[in-house]
Amino acid sequence: MPFDLSAAQVKWFEIVMAALTKEESRYLAYKLNREPNKTEKEIVAAEWSEHCSYKSSKRFIKMLPSKGKHVVVGPGYDAAVLDVGDGYVITVHIESHNHPSAVDPYGGAATGVGGVIRDIISTGTRPIALLDALRFAPLLKEDNEDGSSNSEWLFRHVVRGIGDYGNCIGVPTVAGEIEFDPSFINYCLVDVASIGFGRRDSIVRNRANYDDLIILVGGPTGRDGIRGAAFASKTYLHHNRSAVQIPDPFLEKLLIEAITEAVEEGAIKALKDLGGGGLSCCLSEMSDNLEKGFDIELSEVHVKEKGMSPLELMLSESQERMLIITDHLKIDNIRRIFDKYELKYVILGKIKDHHNLVIRCNEKIVANMPSNIVANAPLARRFSKRPAYLSTLRLDFTPPVTPSNLTRVLLSMLSNPTIASKEWIYRQYDHEVGLRTMVKPGYADASVLRLDNGKFISVKLDGNSKQCYIDPYHGTLGCLSEACRNVACTGAYPIGIIDHLQFGSPENPEVFWSFRRAVSAINNYCKFMKIPVVGGKVSFYNETSKGPIKPTPVIGAIGLIEEKRLITQSSLKDGDAIFIVGTTANETGGSEYYEYVHRITGGNVAKVDMNIDRLNLRSTLELIDKNAVSCVHDCSKGGVAVAISEMAILGGVGFNIFIDKIPNSCYSIDSLLFSESHSRYVIGTQEPKTVEKILSGIDGLVFSQIGDAYNENVTFKMKSEILIDTDLRAITTNFKRLEQIMTR
């Protein structure tokens, strides 16, 4: 039975966080026309936290283009809904769980998966895929500035957490990306995206009528994860273990099945998952969205432990819980289904004809506020200022001398954990369950999933904190271009973008400047390319002991492959002629070559010319359409030398490249080999004449035939001089470096 707060609890609460700012408190009292009580204040504080309210970012992300012919439901809901034709839709959502994962990598990452899966279920669709984008400090101690790192521990357990959760619920983890950078020391970024699939007519409409029933279903409510949202809305300074939730994938699996069954029976009128902020946020947002009042009684909530106060019940972020609204006609279906899966549920209350959120405990009112006040935080005014470090970076920068042994540089680049094979990771994820995975991780730039209408979707996440640090605007443009290129390489046209913007504290004007630059890059790119931004998330307060993290927007692209089109992979085939589309410029700033090989931060970040980007993307898709290629690979991290090596490793065949044939504007050979200029595609084909003919027919396109794939030698030649001379075995061995580190 819940009780009021004990004196000790009150004290502990106050220590953990000073909830609302003074201005917010004043604003709340003004809006309510009275002083809120303690519980009300805390409920509002949870909802008005940065994590739940987007109070710093809302006015900027609102401007992103979100309309398009495929968009059924855009951003602002639990998950975006995209029409894929024939009465089917896919749903997509992205979330991060950075703060919890830095404290408890296993539990933090696992509950991150759980959260995003429930967002997909909330639309009434079945989750069919997971993607993850991970960022850590370098694994080896010597690669970190102060020679110490817990990143191997974080990395190992984050991967295990994602694997154990995704495997258990039977949703394949199909794609992702990973980056190691010293700026993430003692911290990590764990972004998880999920894709759902369902019928358009069974999407939950989120409507409700008076007297409908509000039901809480799933796991018991406990003291775990109390104030997780608040925790995530502060700079991460000390380990707050109690703010991390405990994962239970089995329960999540039952929720997936039960909710899907209830949706099929049309028994659910509205649906929302309980995430950050627990019941507080879920109830207030739902009540506000439905424009209906909620009468809630907390005393019957099934709990993990006795003696939880109403406030703790409202703020708990215990996982695997969902809120559903049904009516008296369908309540028996709901009961039958939940009983079948042995899921615990409680009728929390009813929809009322007022517009308030009324919370009772044992019939005593503990909170009573208009839900539109609770759900709509006053926007915060944040100042922005160009970071001082940008000028310093420019002044301090001296380009490195071209190394004499380029073979060694290439092998070292391939063994860079950011570039090396990620097999150690995806082998721990069940990436085939569900029988939809047509292109598995590691085989192409993006993963391809089969849909029930004969079409396919191609999905990929991309980020690049190194480039976004040196140039937030062009770095972000680069991530967008790369994500779109990746899905295009499998033969898909991008139909939607999701973004996850991760930055330090928004109260720091320099951080906020970077944030605004990133948003304007997304805005410009997506408007130009006419690809809607269908969903996203902002995560602030990602700070380590060394200050804010590098700006890290993670971009997800969703591409659609129409029926009976060819799906292309990246593996080079024996006898392929190798082409490159796009120009290589002197753009090594923030490249893996500078950062990993030379430990230099600075220089020119690769810029995206959107006209060229669109032209190259369309031309490559045209080649795939005309069935003229045997493989396509995007040129990004590590540059052209790494891109071709990856294709060779995958195809098990060597190659010879004439460097001087690569269209470029570079000053040095190393920059030509390793520059990360965007909008480039490496293409292998058995029909060079056809490719040549198609490409030369496209006005303004820069391309060139640069070499061939045969036997097992790997060579890069400049006219007759051999610059890189190695073989398939050496590059393959070096490419397995990540596995060697993790299994040593």
Partner: protein
């Protein structure tokens, strides 16, 4: 040689059930459905047992019905109709979240008793991955499945070799035939002590072995075993996942064998 003799013996004794499973078992209670629909040309019915936490139930259902055109139904684990099926498949997944130990909780539910009855009556039971773990925990198959020797979950493709092609699940394979098949498991290392292993080998109960590529460190590279009678088989790899990749789809032959075996003769 031993296998040969064993098969001869089986043929003489005739217990493996070519006759048993296609004809209704006389000493078992048949429910109305079977009695009603039973005729000389009755279609054999395959049930896919679904536990809370089963993951590959939908995959097996899709492959059987939509790709291989073998009719199969879902059967919720508490469904009292289970006993009416001629054959059941226990799909992969994490029944009861693999709590305590993979398969152990499912093996202590009422359905286990039903499964034992069916096995005893000579009907075919195929356990895939988690289904294999459940059958082992039920005591229907010998040995045990423990954590992979890599100590982590492993999802990839491997190659297996047919060791016994005289079971209802392998009759269309050639002995020593090898083919590619996907695996995805954390607790897939098959173990049996010396004496048990000897008896398994003597009785020709090893159905498939990992071929040159053992992903989990199983004793004698065992990937699938059957019971002494041959009507219950557990297999760690996932034959239902192979048809997605058309170029390597010999694995789904396991289901074709089962279907052929169940056809009225």
């Amino acid at each position: 040689m031993i296998g040969q003799i064993r098969r001869e013996e089986q043929r003489k004794k005739g217990p493996v059930g070519t006759m048993i499973a296609t004809k209704p078992i006389s000493n078992e209670n048949l429910n109305r459905h079977q009695e009603g629909s039973y005729s000389s040309q009755r279609m054999a019915r395959i049930g896919i047992v679904v536990f809370p936490g089963s993951n590959c139930d939908r995959d097996v259902h899709y492959i059987l019905n939509n790709v291989l055109k073998i009719q199969a139904d879902f059967v919720w684990h508490t469904d009292s109709n289970l006993g009416t099926y001629d054959s059941v498949i226990i799909p992969g997944g994490f029944a009861y979240g693999d709590r305590l130990r993979a398969g152990v909780i499912a093996a202590h539910t009422p359905v286990a008793i039903e499964l034992k009855k069916m096995a005893k009556g000579g009907r075919t039971i195929l356990g895939i991955c988690n289904g294999f773990q459940i059958l082992v925990e039920c005591g229907l198959l010998p040995g045990a499945l423990v954590m992979n020797n890599s100590l982590s979950f492993v999802c990839r493709w491997t190659t297996i070799q047919v060791d016994n092609n005289n079971t209802p699940f392998t009759s269309l394979f050639k002995r020593n035939q090898t083919f590619k098949i996907p695996i995805a498991h954390g607790e897939g290392r098959y173990v049996a002590d010396g004496r048990l292993l000897k008896s398994i080998l003597r009785n020709n109960q090893v159905v498939f072995r990992y071929f040159k590529d053992d992903p989990n460190g199983s004793v004698d590279h065992i990937a699938a075993v059957c019971n002494e009678e041959g009507n219950v088989m557990g297999i760690m790899p996932h034959p239902e996942r192979a048809p997605v990749n058309r170029s390597f789809d010999e694995a789904s032959m396991i289901f074709r064998c089962l279907s052929t075996y169940l056809q009225p003769k």
